[in-house]
């Protein structure tokens, strides 16, 4: 049986480096693009038009029409042969109506698939709400896990969760994927779900600590034993969920793509951190505590 705890410093170093890299990506983006992540209009305010034209359409044609409104700088993306995604600053209802009428006459009959206009104040509120949500969820998890286990279990689990959340954010930032409110939902889901495997391992540690037959074992050994005893369940529980996330990512269509991608990255990291980060942190903490 491979001793994970013995190599704990290695796992923790790797995780710390990757977390630091993820933060570096955010900093890098901030220097290059002026913002850490590719915030969508949910956060910044703006207009998003997802249009379906009756005939195949090119980005150039659409840009030409937008130029007439001084909106030539908008992001225009093809999301299908006839589908166009436009992102631009917040537009008045009147301007939007005239714009659509222009598309109808100058290009071809247009159908609105989706049209969002979000004022800048709403976006700001959302950013604050997102931070509140992450803090509240952390607090809830700390309180519950401290109550059921111990404070240090809670902190170890939470550090592992932040590790998952930060690296996921870093990867999404690196891919420069546009994020919206569902990204926040995905992060909270990752936090809520990835802790499950950690809890299963902690539960086993709690149980093994009570076993008389293991009374002579050191804490580290018990942790390592518990990790291995629960290994197949750690893997299998995540696998079933990852099946579903993969299906959503591949077949779920455009609106769920960013969401399922974030979940895929986060759940995978969560599986790793549940086994290699949370218990090793716990063991390290216990070790340092008992040395004093």
């Amino acid at each position: 049986m491979f001793d994970i705890i013995k190599k704990s410093r290695m796992f923790l170093t790797v995780s710390a480096i990757v977390t630091a890299l993820a933060l570096a990506v955010l900093l890098f983006n901030f220097m290059v693009h002026g913002k850490p992540m590719n915030f969508g209009i949910d956060f910044t305010g703006g207009t998003m038009l997802n249009l379906r034209f009756a005939k195949a359409v090119s980005v150039g044609e659409v840009r030409q029409v937008l130029d007439g409104y001084g909106l030539g700088e908008s992001t225009i993306q093809k999301s299908g042969d006839q589908d166009i995604l436009i992102r631009t600053k917040p537009l008045d209802n009147d301007v939007r109506t005239r714009l659509l009428a222009d598309f109808n006459t100058k290009i071809s009959q247009t159908e609105i698939l989706e049209a969002d206009v979000i004022g800048p104040t709403i976006g700001k509120e959302l950013g604050q709400q997102a931070i509140w949500a992450l803090l509240l969820a952390s607090l809830g998890i700390i309180i519950y896990v401290s109550f059921r286990f111990e404070v240090k279990y809670a902190l170890a689990a939470l550090l592992a969760l932040y590790h998952d959340a930060i690296i996921t954010t870093g990867i999404i930032a690196l891919l420069w994927r546009q994020i919206d409110i569902t990204f926040v939902a995905a992060l909270l889901t990752i936090m809520g779900y990835s802790i499950n495997d950690t809890i299963v391992i902690f539960d086993r540690i709690r149980e093994n600590l009570k076993k008389t037959s293991l009374a002579k074992k050191k804490f580290n050994e018990i942790v390592n034993l518990s990790i291995w005893e629960t290994m197949s369940r750690s893997i299998n529980t995540v696998m079933t969920v990852l099946f579903m996330v993969l299906c959503l990512l591949i077949f779920g269509g455009e609106p769920l793509r960013e969401f399922s991608l974030t979940l895929l990255i986060g759940f995978t990291l969560g599986a790793y951190s549940s086994v290699f980060v949370a218990p090793t942190l716990l063991a390290l903490w216990h070790h340092n505590e008992s040395k004093k």
């Binding site: 989706e114 998890i141 519950y144 401290s146 299963v200 009570k210 579903m244 609106p255």
Partner: protein, 512 residues
């Protein structure tokens, strides 16, 4: 009664022996140390608490999965399962799931109240805004709109399935402040007079406006007019109806209430051969000259209207004006095809994911795996029916959340079956292993699910709209999955044992 008594007594025995077991364990292993390690539970014996709660919960189901009381127990269990399925199917038929705006198409608008000099943003004024908006939407004839306040100054309006969002937006957001103003045509030599001069000459409230005449959307003439004093407002109206003038142009016929009719009679009496300006949201829409006093309290508003304009103006006048102006801060329009597309795609994703999970569980965990697939098959209608019974609106993130819970629902089974494997390896009988596996896995399942629910509940309180749908489906899904995993799976596994289908711990049907 005797039938039920025996298992009940056994359950009590179980509690007693469980707490005894715990206390001997504690005696052997420095009991005080354990308690000290619980920061919030000094002096309490938390280890005792959990098995007790657990046993209490199992009491509710003792009849179903303790000792078989009679030969008919399996029939009873099958009946119970069929009952659950029938009940959920019945609920689903009775209360079909509402589809959210993102799935059926529709418009979501968020308005923010704007403070004016006269009226502040307050609970009263915002309640007025909500009431007026509700009246206007009723006039629009949208089925099942939602209008709710958010925070101090915002109103969220959701209009499912409307075909013409632009019209709704124009209708809802206008203040629709109607004013009848005593006026006078500005003499040609007074053009360019300063506002002070105008006030000096025509009274303290006087200001200059323009009457524009439009044809086919183009302004053909502009005429300055002195607006002297507002005499009547939309609040003095009793009714408004669409109509036509003598040339067949669409107009709005209005009727004043008693007080309004009196005032209108006075004003028209002193304004013969002078205009009365009709102003909507600070724009002069017409300024007809008064030919004779009008005592009837009836009047006509004309002004280059199209038939649709008249229809919408009538709705606005009937609903009244907004107490404070509102600004649209968020608009989301979803066309009907996008939602249909999303539903179709998530169906495919869901079915494929489900099949993957089925294949995995059956191949890996064999017969128990098959049982968990059966309870997953019950989980689906059960969860959907509970969502329907709570009148939850299904959104696209909600569907994603539901599909995720399918993957999470088997987690509890995985935890139990992995435990079962360990118990079987210890050489226990099949029945004892089942019991021990459920018993021991309980704490892990409870703790891990509670943490997921903490995340979901936070999301519910912080998120809005579609994200709330996701949070609700996730929470209900997890709760139901705990029920199916801990009771239905257990019940069906006990059926196998009691029917003597699996008796050999080394059976190929079990995964060891």
């Amino acid at each position: 009664m005797g039938l039920l008594k025996k298992p009940f007594l056994e359950a009590v025995d179980n509690i007693v022996s469980a707490s005894k077991r715990v206390s001997c364990l504690e005696e052997k292993r420095k009991p005080r140390r354990y308690c000290r390690r619980f920061p919030f539970c000094h002096g309490l014996k938390p280890a005792e608490l959990i098995p007790r709660l657990k046993m209490l919960a199992s009491h509710c189901f003792y009849m179903l999965y303790l000792q078989p009381m009679s030969k008919n127990i399996n029939q009873l269990r099958i009946l119970l399962i069929l009952g659950i399925i029938a009940a959920s199917v019945y609920v689903l038929i009775q209360f079909p799931l509402n589809l959210g705006l993102d799935l059926q198409g529709g418009t979501r608008l968020v308005y923010e109240g704007q403070e004016t000099e006269k009226v502040k943003v307050s609970d009263d004024s915002m309640a007025g805004v909500v009431a007026v908006i509700r009246n206007r939407i009723d006039g629009l004839g949208v089925s099942e709109p939602t209008i709710q306040r958010k925070g101090q100054s915002q109103v969220i309006v959701e209009l499912p399935g409307i075909k013409d969002p632009e019209r709704a937006i124009a209708l809802i957001g206008d203040t629709a402040m109607l004013e009848f103003v005593e006026a006078e045509w500005l003499p040609g030599d007074a053009r360019g007079a300063s506002p002070e001069k105008v006030k000096e000459f025509y009274g303290a409230e006087a200001r200059i406006g323009t009457v524009k005449e439009e044809q086919d959307g183009r302004v053909v003439s502009e005429k300055p007019i002195v607006l002297k004093k507002t005499v009547l407002t939309g609040a003095d109206l009793k009714g408004a109806f669409p109509g036509f003038d003598q040339y067949g142009n669409p107009v709005v016929d209005i009727e004043f209430n008693d007080n309004g009719a009196k005032l209108f009679a006075e004003v028209t009496a002193r304004s013969v051969n002078k205009p009365i300006a009709i102003i909507l949201d600070r724009k002069v829409i017409s300024a007809p000259n008064v030919r004779e006093p009008i005592p009837s309290g009836r009047a006509q508003i004309s002004g280059n209207f199209k038939a649709e304009d008249v229809r919408d103006l009538v709705i606005k006048l009937k609903a009244g004006s907004l107490p404070i102006p509102v600004k649209m801060v968020e608009t989301r329009i979803v066309g009907p095809s996008l939602g249909k597309d999303s539903i179709d795609r998530s169906k495919i994703a869901g079915v494929l994911g489900f099949l993957f999970i089925v294949a995995f569980m059956v191949i890996y965990y064999r017969l128990p795996g098959f049982i968990s697939v059966l309870s997953l098959a019950i989980y689906v209608p059960l969860t959907l029916s509970i969502l329907a019974a709570f009148h939850t609106t299904l959104t696209l993130p909600g569907i994603a959340g539901f599909l995720l819970t399918l993957g999470m629902a088997v987690d509890a089974n995985v935890i139990i079956y992995e435990r079962l494997k360990e118990e079987l390896r210890l050489g226990k009988t099949v029945k004892a292993s089942f019991a021990a596996a459920f018993d021991r896995a309980f704490a892990a399942i409870l703790d891990s699910n509670v943490t997921t629910i903490i995340g979901a509940v936070t999301l519910f309180f912080v998120g809005t709209g579609t994200i709330r749908g996701f949070a609700i489906t996730l929470t209900i899904g997890i709760l139901v999955s705990m029920f199916t995993a801990l009771t239905l799976t257990r019940l069906m596994l006990n059926m196998l044992v009691d029917a003597k289908i699996v008796t050999d711990p080394n059976s190929k049907l079990l995964y060891k």
